[in-house]
Amino acid sequence: MDVDVADEYKTFAKVVRISTTAGLIMLIASSVMYLLDIDPFVEPGRVVETWHLPASKFWKVNVGKEMESYSEFLSIEHPDTIAVFSLFILALTPVLALLTILPKLKGIYRILAVIVISELLFGAVRPLFLGAFGE
């Protein structure tokens, strides 16, 4: 027996289901390519040897430079980078879901949803203009 839930609940759930499924398919496909050693950005063996290092040192040791502001995506042709990009899509899922239900929300909830969307987007763009540590 189900209870009647508000329209925005159903829509939110539907968008989350579709977006996470898409992100997961991309994640699995790229991971299989990576594990089959098809043109990785950093060889899996090297990752295991150096994963204890802080992020900045890890990249210096493995590719000769640090990663800043999503610069890893400049090497999007490699399957391990595509795997990270699929996480990017998964992280955008709540934004998509909230944007979809925004017209259905009323009063204060519409304002609060706009605040949540802004916070999520701020979290995403912040590294582009403030650096990872906010400096």
């Binding site: 839930v5 759930a13 992020a55 990017f88 540590f133």
Partner: protein, 223 residues
Amino acid sequence: MEKGLANLRAAIVITTVSIASSIVGSVLGLWITNELPEGKHYITIALGISLFFIFAVMVKSKRVEFPEVGKVDSTSEKLDLSGRWYEPSRDEVVEYKLTRLPYSLPAFAGVGLVASMFGLGAGWANVPVLNLLMGAPLRVAVSTSMLIITLNDAAAMWVYIARGAVLPLIVVPSVLGVTIGARIGAMIAERVRPRIIRLVVLGIMLFAALLDIEKGLAGLGVI
């Protein structure tokens, strides 16, 4: 959410505060890991000890499965943080109201900060705040907590992606495990008795407390 278990309204209100604190927490987490590697271990131990206290409070609390909410504060009343779902163990539709929002928001802010600092997940603290403080039935608290975590973590993870701190070799199996686990968990959570949910929540809290203390002590080289 389609069954009425996760309270989207409550999640939207709570995440306005907790996302902001998770963004700050993720920045602080990276900074501490890079600049003060030992600081992270002390905070992990402190978190484990705090979890023990929350665990003890939940063990002692009665009516955790279906808390009785008397007077609802005016903010929660205005925001209409109520809901209902079909409870199979009672074979009836259960209606509930959430309360004490003004006291809960600072708690959620603190949880978001600490959880995103070290990628610890926040279910261990969201569930007790929703259940013990706001009066959410345990089943609703668990479902709403998962929704809050989804929103919070989505905000906190950008800084790690931007910095290249996400290694597919580690993240991919864990994301797949979490996703499959979450889908199975959601299916089971609908049907299982609230008493079992309570035991599982308590078990996870105890395990997480022990794990945090062990991780912290191991990080400091004590054990």
